[in-house]
Amino acid sequence: MKRIVCVLSFCLVFLTTVFAKDADSLSVKTDNELKKNFALGMSFGSKTHHVSHLSPLLYSGNGIGLWAERINKKNWRNKDFYSLTNFRFDRSSLSYLTLTEQNIMAVSNLELDYHLYYDWKLASNFHLLCGGYIGGEFEKNEMQSSLWIGNNPNFYSIELNLLGLSLRPTLCIQTNRRLIKISNQFDLRLAGFVFYPTTNQSFLCDDLKDVIDFNSFSEKFHFSDKLTVDLPLRKTTLRLGMLVERSKSMIFNVDNRSLNVQGIVGFSFDYLTSSGRLNRKKQLKTIFE
Amino acid sequence: MKRIFAIIFVAVSSVFVSCDDDLEYEDFDIVENFNFLWKEIDEKYCFFDYKKDSIMRWNLVYDKYLPKVYYDCDNVTEYFDILAAMLGELKDGHVNLYTSFDVSRYDFADNTPIDFDYNVVNYNDRYLGKDTRIVGGFKYKTLRDGKVGYIYYGSFSSSFSSGNINNILDSFEDTEGLIIDVRSNGGGSIANVSALVSHFIDETTTIGYRVNKTGPGHSDFSSPVAEKVSPNSTGVIYKKPVYVLTNSRCFSATNEFVYAMKGLPRVKILGGKTGGGCGMPFTTELPCGWKVRFSANPCYDKNMQITEFGVDPDIVLHLDEELVYKQKLDNIIETACDYIEGKKK
């Protein structure tokens, strides 16, 4: 299972870079507008987590993560649209008590979302992006301790959000020497599929019908709010921010709650790519030319 | 001229690609596998010097078993039995030949007294019985109404935390002495040995020396490195007398535990001579896919002696079979309790 998680995370990182590359053949009129922004960084923070399948107690601890995000501006019938792809891999080790003998719960999760926004320009420097997102999440909870001799040391859950609401107000502040962009992305899951086992079920039986559940807002509540600031320094652009993620669900009699508060640090850059024969940027020469 | 450069590089790389032919073996040629096994053991087994006079010289073993391979070996199990017999000449419990249908083994405790009856110790309420406590592979209880602490540790592969041992030793606070019974403990992980010894020493002591082979010759060894254990900083140090009970089936890691404890100020070894086995095992393969495990790194005790054939106890004592069957009593545990209670000197 560990091997699949690792290979999966590779494909996802790989996909975001593939997205990062595809040329924007749509841009016709102004050739000097950089349409894409790519950001990559780490996140550190604390997490409280509860899975009643593993333990009736509330676990807390801190975790470390890697994230990558790509924003791509498109326009269609001369209205501005933005597509955003976000990948996050997070691993945290949690515990309940400071007693010597307590158990450690290792939680690792993997997220990939695709957001599509319509840009509602309220002012020249304030863009209120509102739209929807779809995405997938894979989570593995593992209890590590010598006192755990039963059939339920692991709890896997896979989640597919078919529809989610996403708002991203962005403010651009122009100081005399630099352009600072502040944005606050708010996502709310509306409906989707969830796969995880019922309360006492060890992974023994093999028919899937009672492990997949289509549910909506009422059964699984999941929202996340990411406040980020792009601060251009001398040579690089720093992206600092804070992420709060809250999810609470009661499916198949398994009470699953988690609260994730993380600080984000990374760097972002706007870029232009040219590949292939057709959209060769004339005025810029490539390597070895 | 420039293009030549590119072509040269491609040529150079292809030359290097296929020159591993000295590693190609005929998979299931019984003579080639026999030679291969003999050479691997000759180059890597570590006790040839030490066992010079107690086992047949390795070259003579080759001459003895080669004709057997040629003449009386017409199926796989017979071939396995010949190789197993050859490895048996080394008289080492750590030497095994693994196949899909059998594992060859040398009985290091052959025709020695067993000195241990699990049913008596485990089910008789005088010793462990029903209200014994279990944690981290230890079964522990107080005997002689509270005066003697008794721990039975069945295998060194069951791991424990220092918290477990602290709790056990705390529960033996007002005992006058402790018995650690490692009889018929076949060994396990070396890390558990130093973890256990650290609760019975007052200052950092050397429990043994580690040496490893540095070449194919029978006596190519590195200079010995001391294996030191320091007292358990966070845990309980047991200050009263300790008796370690041993028998001929204490092997490998248990053997190291016994020679590490022997000679400590408050510790006495009681029972039968241990089964030995002080070589750290190493595994390698044969072209036919069988695996062979053998001792590769010898471990010396604190006065640089090899204890491959066992450690002698301070007080030699054997189990009285008659007493066991008739009254379900273990005279070794009883003697240790008498020593602790001062009834015996």
């Binding site: 870079t17 590949s275 810029l284 | 420039k2 750290m280 393969e285």
Partner: protein, 291 residues
Amino acid sequence: MYLIFLEMRNFVFIISFIFFFLTTLHAETSDSASVRLGNRAFGLGLGRETHHVSYLSPLLYSGTTFEFWNETIKHQKAGKCDFYSLVNNRVSMSNMMPTNESTEMSSYYDVFEYHYFYDWKHTPKFHMLCGAYAGFELGADLLFSNSNNPVYIRADLSLLGLSFRPTLCVRTKRRLIKISDQFDIRLAGVVFSPTYTQLYYDLTLPEYEKSEFLDFNSLSEKVRISNKLMVELPLRRTTLRLGMLVDRSKSMINMIDNRTTNVQALLGWSYDYYNLKGRLNRDSRFTTVFE
């Protein structure tokens, strides 16, 4: 014991994330002075690997290998002559078996190399890049059927290596094809390896000389060459990069015979990029997102 080696595998993956991060960092830090765009390529590799580690088994293992590779090249100008810096990062997983197919050895390793070339231009179309590289290889070979010695850790810091990269640009009427053949040879470095039958357990003993496990060696003890032939073919919208990699290493360090031959076909995409960030190199010709 088994758990420790699973942790080892996680460690290798975390290292590969960090290397991937560094490659992107290299790609990102293009300075505005250079007129030319940087080039980034990434893709998959599939091929066969034959592998022999006498510490784990005296037999020759062979099997398939699968890898992600990631390469960025940047142009730097100093005075009249051109310099190129290249970062290459490979994460590879392979499963191998001996000819008797009785057991399976799985190996996971990362390679991270930084090359620095001087461009010795013969003709406008042919660039003979020659320079040096330094790199780091970390990984583990796992053979779980062995009792006390189921893992061989592959850690090799190559401090100096020669690197040549002849590149030919062929211009047809509609596209510009670039053919390059990168040849690297390792000259000197430090390898982490136990001796003959020494177990990694010895590392845990405080009295043990850690330097026993490190070995500074040169070409005589460890030969490592790799030759990567690559063709960059611009299609309609994307630029495809096809190639073949031959990687050969042979070493006898601390009495352990270690040989690897790796022949792989490479398939990937490459694109030229121009990054704009920070305050100073705000290229006024361009506006950014949300501006």
